[in-house]
Amino acid sequence: MLNQISCIMFSTLLFFISVLGIFLNQKNILVMLMALEIMFLTLGFNLVSSSIYLDDITGQIFALLILTVAAAESSIGLAILVIYYRIRSVITVELMNLTKG
């Protein structure tokens, strides 16, 4: 049943899974970026479902904006990744530890 509670539960669960995906991941930065995208998607999903159940258009406007921002962000992020790979020839997250405290 697609009611409000299950929508919110689903998006929250997916959000936590993506959080875990970010900080349990030691190897691959691409997977981290993907998890980040999932976080954006869960937010968008949450906003859309809320706007439907609250019968308010603002949530959908915000979802569209977030989609845009996510697209821009992932393009910039991938660009940074490419530059980084060009310099270091490696993109393992574990080895990105040059800025220690």
């Binding site: 900080f23 991941n25 981290m32 997250v93 530890n97 405290g101």
Partner: protein, 669 residues
Amino acid sequence: MYLLIIILPLFSAIISGLAGRWIGYYGSSLLSSTCILFSMLLSFFIFYEVGLSGLPCFITLFSWINSGTLLINWGFLFDGLTSVMLIVVTVVSSLVHIYSIKYMEEDPHVPRFMAYLGIFTFFMLVLVTSDNLVQLFLGWEGVGLASYLLINFWHTRLAANQSAIKALLVNRIGDFGLILGILTTFYTFHSVEYSTIFACTSLFSNYYFSILGIKIHSLSLITIFLFIGAIGKSAQLGLHTWLPDAMEGPTPVSALIHAATMVTAGVFLMIRFSVFLEYAPFSLFILTIFGSLTALFAAMTGTFQNDLKRVIAYSTCSQLGYMIFACGLSSYHVSIFHLANHAFFKALLFLSAGSVIHAVSDEQDMRRMGSLVLFLPITYSLMLAGSLALIGFPFLTGFYSKDFILELSQVSSYTNLNLSYAPFACWLGTISVFFTAFYSFRLIYLTFLNNSNIVRTKLSVLHESSLLMLLPLMLLGLGSVFVGYLTKDIFIGLGSDFWGSSIFILPKNSCVLEAEFLLTYIKWIPFFVSTFGIFFISLLHIFPLFFYNNFKYNTLFYQFAFILNKKWYWDKVYNIFLVKSLLNFGYLTSFKNLDRGFIELFGPFGVSLLVPFLSHKVTSLQTGQLSHYIFFMVYGFLVFFTFFVPGFMLDIEFNSYLIGIFCILFVFV
């Protein structure tokens, strides 16, 4: 006139101390001696007016401390007791001043010496004339200070420094007792003035302090505290160790401070507080026990000392024991009588010893003297008179006071008086008489009569002292022969009203009358015992070979003499168990562990260690690993929401326990 006697020594001290470099040796000597001679004359007037005419005098200058119920005036009290002490102090002091002019002639610091003598006399006069306990304490501390300065007069000598510090510190232990006594007096009577507290004493005879449910008789406690002060100042057993060491000072100083005046301050205090003591039987018991033990102990120790001055110092200690146990037997007027007489013959003995030491070029060891009777006939005859007076030879000064103390102790030891401690004092006092005779004549024999052991170089410059030194000796010699007989009726005569209200004896404690009518053979005992002492020591020195051969190889006797010579190892025991452990405590515990250890660790040093340690911990959290950063971000968000967003997690109680867990997690993750 009454205040002038106190001001004059202070004036001379200030002038010769501050202007000493301008008035020089002659000026300071002349000035100090003149001032103190005037003081002496005035004290004779006071003795006539206050003592003989019976006109006590109270002078209140102005208020010193005025706070709540505490009112302390600069007040001076002249009664019979004070007038006698004034005579003693000023006479001995002025004779010592005159004596020192010649004795210290070759010393480069005469003005300083005269200034110290003046300071001492001033404080001693303040002590005896004060009409309240706090002003007495001023004098008490002042004479302690003067004693330090005078023992330390030759301050380049290590031994003098050590002795002076020892004298001051050991005295300070007693002073602490005196302070406690003053405080408890004020707590009880809400006053420290003699006139007030002595008037109220009988009302407080059943007054008890209640401390932790234990009831303590207040007058006993006060008098025991005061007696602790007297133990320190009057060198009673326990705190006597400073007195023999104080002989490091110049000989006139020993005569002035450690024979005639300062050490008598403790006895004076006890006599002054006769009213308290009379209502505190337990303190009388303590006084008797301590006094008689001191008398015997010091007399025995004196027998095998080889230092001329040290023998006399132990003799002083022993005689002070007599005075204290006379106080313990409620015979305060006999005690002050002995004090006055003792001042004369002990000053005579010390000054004669100084004359001898001067003659043999500062040699103090009696074993390196001998046959001085041929060279110093005047000193010899004076010292003999002094010694005979000391051992209580009939019709000399000591006889009238010392034998009377012994007679009193004989009376007190009657079983029907229920003074169980009096026989103890009686026995110890009588045995001390033997030792007194023994060491006095040992001194005479070794110094004057035996064959000479002097080095030839010193023998060639042997000379009798000049007139300026002999004159005080002669006056003191006259004093030690006649003073006892002349003042006997004034001081201890039956029904003499000389003391007025300055000495109080409960009628049930007074046994002067009984002492007068003792059996004849008991009265003879001290004489026989002292004669036996003289006889015994004479045998030892007249037939030396026979006795020395017998005694020298007798292990028991030899060990005994050795222990006596080492003063019963009292100093050694104190040094090992008390001084050393206290110093160790001071260094190891309070300095190293507490000051430099504990407090430093929790103070600046520890904090300065903690800050880098913690900051290192915090910086080491920044590992550079992306996933760690994300973990802390998430974690931080959770903490933030848990505690700082209201209503977020209401069901978790906001308590320190959780904060602690979070902090620990935060630091050590």
